[in-house]
C-alpha cells in the first residue's frame, strides 16, 4: 500500500525534483513542508529521498517530540552520518555557529547536491531554530535543498517557530512553502479498494488524514471511532511480550535501542519480531521507533500509570548503569518517574547543559521540573537553582516570571541571615526589576544592596553591586552616580584581581563620559576596556563595546566615527547571527542617518530592523520607528503619526534615551499641523524627566522642542550647545554649530530665524532635503518679510545619467566599481540578490558591454560621474 500513500502527491514531488535540479546548478533552496499531524509529511519526504538515490547526498535528522528536546537533536542525527562530515566538529564541543558555518561551507562546495531533511521542526529546540534561520538565510548559493517539515496547526503566533518562518519566507527567491493536504475522497476510495470498510464512512471519520486512514484499514473490519482505538486494535492481535515491547518503545522520546527494549520488559528476542509484525513500530538500525508520533501517544496514553512510571524508572537505571552522557534523555525519564530524588538528580544538570547549548526554553522546563520539588532541597541549593532559573526566564524574555523568582531568591537569602547572600539577592532583584521596566524599584534596591555590603571587606559581590549600580546610573544618564560607582568597582576589581570586572566597569565609565562628560576621554576608556576583553577572549563583550561606542557616539553626535563603530558591531553580530545586537546597532545607524538628513539610507536601515524577527527587544524597534517617523514628518509623508505613536508606546516602560527622539519628532509633527497644545502636553513630562538627568542632549532636544512649540519660556541649564545657542536667540552661531556637527535640517531651522539672506539659505537646504513642510513654512516667512524673489520649488534632484542609467542602476554600478559582489551589493542596498542581478544586466546592456569587468573599466575611463544625488 506504500505507493498508494503517495496518491495526490505527484505535483509536490515534481516541485522538489525541480528544486534539486536547480540546487545541482548552485541555486539552493529551503522548503517548508507543512500539514496537519498524520497527513503524510514524512512519507512524502522520505519517498523523495528514496527517489533521489545517489544523485544527491541525503542527510536526515528529526526533532524530538519531547517537552524538553535534546538541543540540536536533528543535527546530532545528521552528524552521525559520516557523509555529513560534521561529526568530529560537533563532538569536539565547538560553538554552535562554528558548526553551522562548517555545515554551510560543505553545502556550498560539495560536488554532489545535498538533500538535507529536518523533520518535525514544530518540536525544535532554540538551537535548531537558530540552525534553520542560519541556513535558511544563506541557502541560496549552496548546492542544497533543505527540507523542514512541521505541523502547521501547532504553530500558533506564540510558537517559537512562527517568528522563524515569518522571517524566512521574506526571502522569496530561495525559500518556498509547500502544504500537504489531506487525501480527497477519491484517494480514500482507492486506498480502501481491497477493504470491506465503506470509503465514504472512512473519509468522513478520518477527514482524509493518511495516518488515520492507514490505521483504520490495518485495524480490520470494524470501524474504530478514534486513532487510539485503531492503534490499540492493531496491538491487540500480537503476543503479550510483543505488546510489552511496544509499550516500552512508547516511553522513549523518539526511538529505543533493541537491547534496551528487551532489558526493560525482560522479554525474549522474538518479542521484537512480534512487535514489528503488528506494523505499529518499525526498525531503524538497532533501534525501534513508532511509525508515527500519534501512534506513540496512543499507546503511551493507554498504559496503566503505575506501569509507565516503572518503565521510566528502569530506563533511568539502565542509562545510569551505561554511564550515558545524554543528559536530556536521562532527565526526560527522571522527570516522568515523578520521583523527587531522581528529578533533582538529573533535571538541573540537563538544564545547565541546555543553557550552554543555547536552548533556554528547554532549560526553563528542566529547572521548573526540578523546582517543583524544591522542598527537598537545602536552602543554599535552592537559592542556586532558583537564581539559575531566574536567569533562564529572563533569557526567554519572561520578565514577570524572572522578577517573581528574583524575589523568591531574596526571601530565601534573608532566611539565611548571611549578608553577602542577601546582597546577591538584592542585586538579582535590582537587575530583574530593571529588565521588567521598574526603574525606580531597581534604583532603590541597588542602594539597599550597597548600603548592606559596604561595611564589609572587598568582595566579588560588592564589586558586582557597584558595577551594576554604575551601569544603571549610566543608562539613567546620572553622571556623578555612574562615575562614582564604576570607579569604585574598577578599584575593587583590581584589588581582588578580577580582570573581567575591571574591564566591565571601565566600559561603563567610558560610556558615561562619552554621553555626559568628556567625549574623547570616554572613547579612550571604552577602547581600553575593549582591549582587555580581546585579551580575555570575551568576544561578545568586544561587540558590546562597539555597540556602546556607536550608540553613545550617536547620542553625542560624533556621527562619522559612531557610524564606523556601528558598522563594525553589525558585521560582528551578523557573523554569529546575533539578531538582538545587530538590530540595535542598525536602528541606531538609522537614527544617525536621519539626523544627518540622509533620509533614504535612514529609511532603508529602519526597514531592515523591521525585517529582523519580532522577538528582539523593544529598544531596537523604538529607535528604528523613531527614525522612520521623523523622516515622514520632515518629508511631509503620510503615516508619521502612526509610526511615532507606536515607537512611544513601545518605549514607554524603558528609559528616556530611547523615546526622546520619537517624542520630539511627534511634537514637530503637531507643530506643522498647528496642534500646539498637544505638542506641549506631549513634551512636558519627558522634559522634566530629562531635567533629572545629566544628559546634555536629552535636556537640549526636549527643551528645544518644548520651547519651539511655545511651552517653555526659560531655556534649561546644561543643554547641548547648538540647542542652547538657538534658544538664546543666536541663530548664526547655532547654524554654524549644526553645520559643524552635520545636521542640515537643524541648521536650516536656525537659519530660518535670521535675516532674509539666512532665510533664503535655509530654504535652499530644505529644498535640497525635500523637506516640504518646513520649506513651505520658510516660504511663508519670506513672503511676510516682503522678499520678492523666492525660489518656486525644489530643483529636481533626479539627473539623467550619461548612459541613460536610472538612479538605482547608477548606484549599483558605483558599488560594482568598489569591487562588491552581487550578494554584498544586495546587502548594502537592502534589496534581493536577484534584483541586483537584474540591475547588473540592465547596466551591462545600457553600457553596451558584455562583462562586469568591462562595465567597471568603462566607468573608470569616462571619469564616472555616476554617483546619484
Amino acid at each position: 500500500m506504500d505507493h498508494l500513500l503517495l496518491l495526490e502527491r505527484d505535483h509536490l514531488l515534481d516541485r522538489l525534483e525541480r528544486l534539486l535540479q536547480a540546487a545541482s546548478q548552485g541555486q539552493g533552496s529551503l522548503v517548508l513542508v507543512s500539514g496537519e499531524a498524520g497527513v503524510g509529511k514524512t512519507t512524502m519526504v522520505r519517498a523523495f529521498a528514496g527517489r533521489v538515490g545517489d544523485r544527491a547526498v541525503v542527510l536526515i535528522g528529526a526533532c524530538d517530540p519531547l517537552s524538553t528536546p535534546r538541543p540540536l537533536s536533528p543535527l546530532l542525527d545528521i552528524a552521525a552520518d559520516p557523509a555529513s562530515g560534521i561529526g568530529d566538529l560537533l563532538s569536539s564541543g565547538a560553538a554552535n555557529y562554528d558548526v553551522f558555518a562548517d555545515l554551510l561551507g560543505r553545502l556550498r562546495t560539495a560536488l554532489r547536491p545535498t538533500l538535507l531533511v529536518v523533520e518535525d521542526v514544530h518540536w525544535a529546540d532554540e538551537a535548531t531554530l537558530d540552525l534553520l534561520r542560519y541556513v535558511g538565510r544563506r541557502v541560496a548559493d549552496t548546492h542544497a535543498v533543505v527540507v523542514a517539515t512541521y505541523r502547521h496547526d501547532e504553530v500558533t503566533r506564540t510558537h517559537p517557530l512562527f517568528a522563524v518562518i515569518g522571517d524566512l519566507v521574506r526571502i522569496r527567491e530561495s525559500v518556498h512553502r509547500m502544504e500537504i493536504p489531506p487525501f480527497t475522497l477519491d484517494a480514500v476510495r482507492r486506498l480502501a479498494a481491497d477493504s470491506p470498510v465503506d470509503p465514504e464512512e472512512l473519509f468522513e471519520l478520518t477527514g482524509g488524514n493518511a495516518f488515520f486512514v492507514t490505521e483504520v484499514l490495518a485495524a480490520g473490519d470494524d470501524l474504530p471511532t478514534s486513532v487510539q482505538d485503531a492503534v490499540l486494535a492493531r496491538l491487540a492481535r500480537i503476543s503479550h511480550d510483543a505488546q510489552q515491547v511496544v509499550e516500552a518503545v512508547s516511553t522513549a522520546p523518539r526511538l529505543l535501542e533493541v537491547r534496551h527494549a528487551l532489558a526493560l520488559v525482560d522479554a525474549a528476542p522474538n518479542a521484537v519480531d512480534g512487535a514489528l509484525a503488528a506494523g505499529v513500530v518499525h526498525r531503524a538500525d538497532d533501534a525501534l521507533a513508532f511509525r508515527h508520533e500519534l501512534a506513540r501517544a496512543a499507546v503511551e496514553g493507554a498504559m496503566a500509570p503505575g506501569h509507565r512510571v516503572e518503565l521510566h524508572r528502569r530506563m533511568v537505571d539502565i542509562l545510569v548503569e551505561e554511564r550515558s552522557n545524554d543528559l536530556a534523555r536521562l532527565a526526560h525519564h527522571a522527570v516522568r518517574t515523578g520521583d523527587p530524588g531522581l528529578i533533582l538528580g538529573y533535571a538541573p544538570t540537563a538544564a545547565a547543559a541546555a543553557v550552554s547549548r543555547g536552548a533556554p526554553h528547554q532549560a526553563v522546563e528542566f529547572y521548573a521540573a526540578a523546582l517543583a520539588h524544591a522542598s527537598q532541597l537545602d536552602r543554599s541549593a535552592e537559592i542556586t537553582l532558583r537564581s539559575e532559573y531566574q536567569r533562564a526566564l529572563s533569557g526567554i524574555d519572561d520578565q514577570r516570571g524572572s522578577l517573581d523568582q528574583a524575589e523568591e531568591v531574596l526571601r530565601l537569602a534573608e532566611e539565611t541571615g548571611d549578608v553577602e547572600q542577601i546582597g546577591r539577592g538584592l542585586i538579582t532583584v535590582a537587575r530583574a526589576s530593571w529588565t521588567f521596566g521598574d526603574n525606580e524599584r531597581s534604583k532603590r534596591t541597588m542602594t539597599a544592596a550597597i548600603e548592606l555590603l559596604d561595611p564589609l571587606d572587598d568582595s566579588a559581590t560588592l564589586t558586582a553591586a557597584l558595577y551594576l549600580d554604575g551601569y544603571l546610573a549610566m543608562l539613567n544618564r546620572r553622571y556623578q552616580a555612574a562615575i562614582a560607582s564604576s570607579t569604585r568597582s574598577v578599584e575593587m576589581a583590581t584589588r581582588i584581581g578580577s580582570d573581567v570586572d575591571v574591564a566591565r566597569a571601565t566600559m561603563t565609565l567610558g560610556t558615561a563620559e562619552l554621553v555626559m562628560g568628556d567625549v574623547e576621554h570616554g572613547v579612550a576608556l571604552v577602547h581600553e576596556a575593549m582591549a582587555m576583553f580581546e585579551r580575555l577572549g570575551e568576544t561578545t563583550l568586544v561587540t558590546s563595546c562597539y555597540s556602546l561606542l556607536g550608540t553613545g557616539g550617536g547620542e553625542a553626535r560624533i556621527y562619522d566615527r559612531a557610524a564606523g563603530w556601528l558598522e563594525e558591531a553589525i558585521q560582528r553580530a551578523r557573523h554569529t547571527d546575533s539578531d538582538y545586537p545587530m538590530a540595535y546597532a542598525t536602528a541606531w545607524l538609522a537614527r544617525i542617518r536621519c539626523e544627518q538628513g540622509r533620509w533614504d539610507e535612514a529609511v532603508a536601515l529602519a526597514e531592515a530592523v523591521a525585517r529582523v524577527s519580532p522577538e528582539v527587544a523593544k529598544i531596537s524597534p523604538v529607535t528604528a520607528l523613531g527614525a522612520l517617523g521623523r523622516v515622514r514628518v520632515r518629508r511631509g509623508d503620510p503615516g508619521a503619526d502612526e509610526v511615532l505613536r507606536r515607537a512611544v508606546d513601545l518605549g514607554r516602560s524603558g528609559s528616556l534615551q530611547h523615546i526622546w527622539a520619537p517624542l520630539c519628532a511627534l511634537a514637530e509633527h503637531y507643530w506643522f499641523q498647528g496642534r500646539l497644545d498637544e505638542a506641549v502636553g506631549l513634551l512636558e513630562g519627558p522634559y522634566h524627566t530629562a531635567l533629572q538627568t545629566d544628559s546634555p542632549w536629552a535636556r537640549g532636544e526636549l527643551g528645544f522642542w518644548l520651547w519651539w512649540v511655545g511651552g517653555l519660556a526659560v531655556p534649561p541649564d546644561g543643554a547641548a550647545e547648538p540647542f542652547a545657542l538657538h534658544m538664546s536667540g543666536d541663530w548664526e552661531a547655532a547654524a554654524l554649530a549644526w553645520r559643524a556637527i552635520g545636521c542640515p535640517y537643524e541648521e536650516a531651522l536656525a537659519l530660518a530665524g535670521g535675516d532674509d539672506a539666512a532665510m533664503l539659505a535655509a530654504l535652499d537646504i530644505l529644498d535640497r532635503l525635500q523637506a516640504r513642510p518646513a520649506a513651505l513654512w520658510v516660504r511663508s516667512r519670506l513672503r511676510h518679510a516682503g522678499v520678492d524673489s523666492i525660489p518656486r520649488g525644489p530643483r529636481q534632484s533626479t539627473r539623467t545619467h550619461p548612459a541613460g542609467l536610472t538612479a538605482r542602476q547608477a548606484e549599483v554600478l558605483a558599488l560594482m566599481r568598489e569591487g562588491l559582489a552581487n550578494g554584498d551589493i544586495a546587502q548594502r542596498l537592502f534589496i534581493s540578490k536577484k534584483t541586483v542581478e537584474h540591475h547588473v544586466s540592465a547596466v551591462l546592456a545600457k553600457l553596451g558591454v558584455a562583462t562586469r569587468a568591462e562595465a567597471i573599466t568603462l566607468g573608470r575611463q569616462d571619469g564616472g560621474g555616476v554617483s546619484p544625488t
Binding site: D600, V603, E607, L628, V631, R632, R635, G636, D637, P638, G639, Q770, R772, G793, Q796, T798, T800, T806, A807, R808, I831, T835, H838, P868
Partner: protein
C-alpha cells in the same frame, strides 16, 4: 495595500509619445515599480502637462519615493487617500 495620490511637477512638461518610445518609457516605470511592490494605477495630467496627479498602490510612502527615484520622476507630495463614491450615497434613489 494603501493607496496614495502622488503629485509631481515637470517644469518642462511631461512628454510620453504614443509610440514605441512611449511604450518603452511606461514599460520601464512599470518594471521598476515591481522592485518596490508598487502599482501605478493611473494618472491625471494637467492641460499644460506640467503637473501630474498619480494614483499608486504601494506598501509605504517610502516605497513610492524609491520607485520614483528609480524612474527618475519628481515627487512633490504624497497623500494617502481612499475612494469616496458619490453614487454610493445616491445609490438608494438611482
Amino acid at each position: 495595500m494603501p493607496r496614495y495620490l502622488v503629485e509631481r511637477t515637470f517644469p518642462d512638461g511631461l512628454d510620453i509619445p504614443q509610440s514605441s518610445k512611449g511604450i518603452e518609457i511606461v514599460g520601464g516605470v512599470v518594471s521598476n515599480n515591481l522592485d518596490e511592490q508598487v502599482t501605478w494605477v493611473h494618472s491625471f495630467v494637467s492641460d499644460d502637462k506640467r503637473k501630474t496627479f498619480c494614483i499608486y498602490d504601494g506598501p509605504t510612502p517610502e516605497s513610492i519615493r524609491r520607485a520614483a527615484t528609480a524612474n527618475g520622476l519628481p515627487v512633490d507630495l504624497i497623500t494617502q487617500v481612499s475612494v469616496l463614491d458619490p453614487y454610493f450615497y445616491l445609490g438608494g434613489e438611482a
